[in-house]
Subunit: 285 residues, 2 copies
């Protein structure tokens, strides 16, 4: 990209990053909700999963990725990874505000927590998330910042993301696992459930069947899409084109594996996937 003229800010892509392919469920919503924007997605698959990393490590990774995406001239940054959002959001926001562009950062956790609080009628919200995310307390803080009186019933789901990533078609083992994690939420009588991991969107139909139609499932994709739209409007950064934008992929691990796993999550063709080495070219391009 060195030497090519810089496009005007409105025509630059929105940057999205995640530890792997899970964040593609967020990109999916962005593609449907904001068809005129370009997107650049980075999956840090070489260092997946983030759930086992320390907060310091995740902060370093997130800043490194943000610099890389900024160097590729993204006009807004979406953190589509729960672990990274929980660990690194304040540092990221501080760093982005220092740039000349003043790039906004939109991250999972906050938007879907607000949506869940807006949705509940009985004040009982369920949370399905990885043990690391539950332990971080990030959803507790976000939900209670929006409404201190709401009860949050968190279920740590150790097995769910791996079996969703690993297997398709889903078999009875997946159904039984999902059923097991739903049970405490049924007993608690929640009327709203946050899908606190981007992978869980793929079992939303099963969850809806087990929890019943009266329970509203809230995932980060639609909540993030709304925030991104508002942020772009607020800054006058919406892409003015009338036809569809494009979307491209960077990944730090194997590009073929990214494609194999990713298509199920995006539900659209993946097109070009470019391998990048963040350690060797931290802010290249």
């Amino acid at each position: 990209m060195a030497g090519s003229p810089s496009p005007p800010p409105r025509e630059r892509p929105v940057g999205v990053f995640d530890s792997g392919v899970g964040g593609l469920t967020v990109l999916h919503e962005l593609l449907v909700a904001l068809p005129h924007e370009d997107f650049l997605y980075l999956g840090d698959t070489a260092r997946f999963p983030y759930g086992v990393r320390s907060g310091e490590e995740l902060e370093r990774f997130a800043l490194q990725i943000a610099e890389h995406l900024l160097a590729r001239r993204t006009k807004l940054l979406v953190v589509a990874c729960n672990s990274a959002a929980a660990a690194a959001l304040p540092a990221l926001q501080a760093r982005m505000m220092e740039t000349t562009l003043g790039v906004d950062v939109v991250a999972v956790v906050g938007p879907e927590s607000q949506m869940a609080v807006d949705s509940t009628h009985n004040g009982k919200i369920g949370l399905l998330a990885t043990p690391t995310t539950v332990e971080s307390g990030a959803y507790d803080r976000a939900v209670h910042a929006a409404d201190p009186m709401v009860e949050l019933h968190a279920v740590p789901c150790a097995d769910l993301a791996p079996i969703i990533q690993g297997g398709f078609p889903f078999d009875e083992h997946v159904v039984e696992t999902v059923r097991r994690y739903c049970q405490p939420l049924r007993e608690a009588g929640v009327d709203t459930v946050i899908l606190g991991c981007t992978h869980y969107v793929l079992v939303a139909p099963m969850l809806q069947r087990m929890l019943g139609r009266g329970v509203r499932l809230v995932s980060s994709g639609p909540a993030i899409a709304r925030r991104v739209e508002h942020a772009l409007e607020h800054r006058g950064l919406g892409n003015p084109r009338e036809d569809e934008g494009d979307y491209r992929f960077l990944c730090t691990g194997d590009a073929d594996a990214f494609r194999d796993h990713g298509t199920r999550f995006l539900q659209m063709p993946l097109g070009d996937i470019v391998h990048v080495d963040l350690e060797r070219e931290p802010a290249a391009a």
Copy 2:
């Protein structure tokens, strides 16, 4: 089943049939919306596709399948196939009313047409369907019965169902095909689009992206689920259980092929699939 005691009517399964796996997108909605019911799905894959058959043939097939499902003690019949619904609904309804149960028949075309008419604000509705379905005029009649002043812009999509059935992951060819069929609807300025073929639900995200968020996509699944729920309530036939019901499959063709194609459409495990020969055992069991 001969010799087993007949369960009380409320505890019997809902029968659903289609020419193949496409109707599984309708079953998907039924499983999510009516988790306490049992379902028995018959895919007439040996005689797929129905789109090339004459009206007389389809009427004969539909009556034969209905007799078979009735013999298996289904309490309601869902026709999840557009071609069969267009050709055979009056004959089916007449036949079902003759049975001692007075089994209701709920079929695609009518429910989603009503939903589209209820949804449109500018009175311009689009229709994506197979050429056979478009030529049958069934949607024209259903939409105009609901509101004679609405404009229906029908696009016959010769290639769409085959490429959806044939290929996953979707590639750029699928995207280009979908885009081509969307173009006349964009030009007509419709604000609501009927997905007039059960297969098309699988490209709903692409359609939504190409048509824009302001356009509402209406598919038969949710509309059918609501009708089935009302019909069961009206007759006092809702299953009284509190846990999830089960669902089983019959198919007239190869069971393994049914499973391979079907999982994508159902988004849940398929479990047992039993081969049946309708010609040799028209009302067996």
